[in-house]
Symmetry: C2
Subunit: 225 residues, 2 copies
Amino acid sequence: MSNEREVRVLEIKKSVFENNDREAEKLRDELKEKKIFLLNLMSSPGSGKTTTLKRTIAALKDEYKIGVMEADIDSDVDAKAIAETGAKAIQLHTGGMCHLDAGMTRQGLDALIENDVEFAILENVGNLVCPAEFDTGAVKNAAILSVPEGHDKPLKYPLMFEVCDVVLVNKIDVMPYFDFDMEKCKEYVHMRNPKAEIIEISAKEGKGIDEWAAWLKKEIDAWRG
Amino acid sequence: MSNEREVRVLEIKKSVFENNDREAEKLRDELKEKKIFLLNLMSSPGSGKTTTLKRTIAALKDEYKIGVMEADIDSDVDAKAIAETGAKAIQLHTGGMCHLDAGMTRQGLDALIENDVEFAILENVGNLVCPAEFDTGAVKNAAILSVPEGHDKPLKYPLMFEVCDVVLVNKIDVMPYFDFDMEKCKEYVHMRNPKAEIIEISAKEGKGIDEWAAWLKKEIDAWRG
């Protein structure tokens, strides 16, 4: 942690817990008691997590006190971008680790809880493989799949799409320039997880953000009671 | 392995070797002796590894006997696409594992060696994090970074760009539709690795493939002696 930075940077430590699933359940119980909704946002590098978050914060900042944990191997560019929105932002440095588990998520959450956050978001490490294997303790899991990546990704990264409650198909503004088949994409996502909600968005242009914010509001209010 | 498939599918096993670096050096020594050049190709999901490989094979198939190992968690769509080019293609299923090490690479290479391959390519799992941590035994490492992912990726995934001998900046045909700063991208890559070669390509349109094939030919001929 350094005072010279605009945002707080936490060098997170490897978890000491052997049973991550149990630790994740414990964390969710605490979140329920404290009325905090935690969203785990996952995707490939460069599919638009940070831009989507900025839009999400703009849409919901009058409803909830929002805090974001930006998990990155290095750099704090994303946390600075989030801090500019007025939301509480914390940069988590994973020290080379490719995912977050419940113990690591807790290290970041403690700092958000101090700030009375109601809606906490974990921007996981950009990676379609490893983050899917670890329950972070989040209430809901979201994945972003962007148009330039191709509609076949749910075939090639099955677990990510199995564990997701909602899939945001981002960068629909560039659909004309890519061979992306939206119907096939939806079919492949539902092959992995028939219950997954799919929302088409362009975070850059703001398209679909209303629908995404409405989905979040419904889930957050149901959780907080 | 199944005879019904168009391509051979190998379910690779976790390596038993404790010292991956030593195993990788051993593999490289064997490749030198057998005059086989092995390229390790890494990138995020959806940045265009398979399309780039198809172009690469078309450019060099009259010069070398080419074989490709397609590492994927699931599916064999990429290996089928490669088999259509006439190159020898083997699908490696990693069983959920997020990277390949030298022991896993060797399992696939044995099948290519049977086919007298001179230029072997490992298409690693789509992931900018974990594959960078494991020496596969390859002679050279290449990474693809595609324009839609953004020019800041070398800041956020430092190790990948440190270990790469060459970075292909792909999808330059869609530059007008994205906020991608090529000069910044090159600056960031060279921050991580001043010696890295950077080649701009559009695998879709075939741009830059000549330069990439020339780089490969120089490296392959130097290795094979």
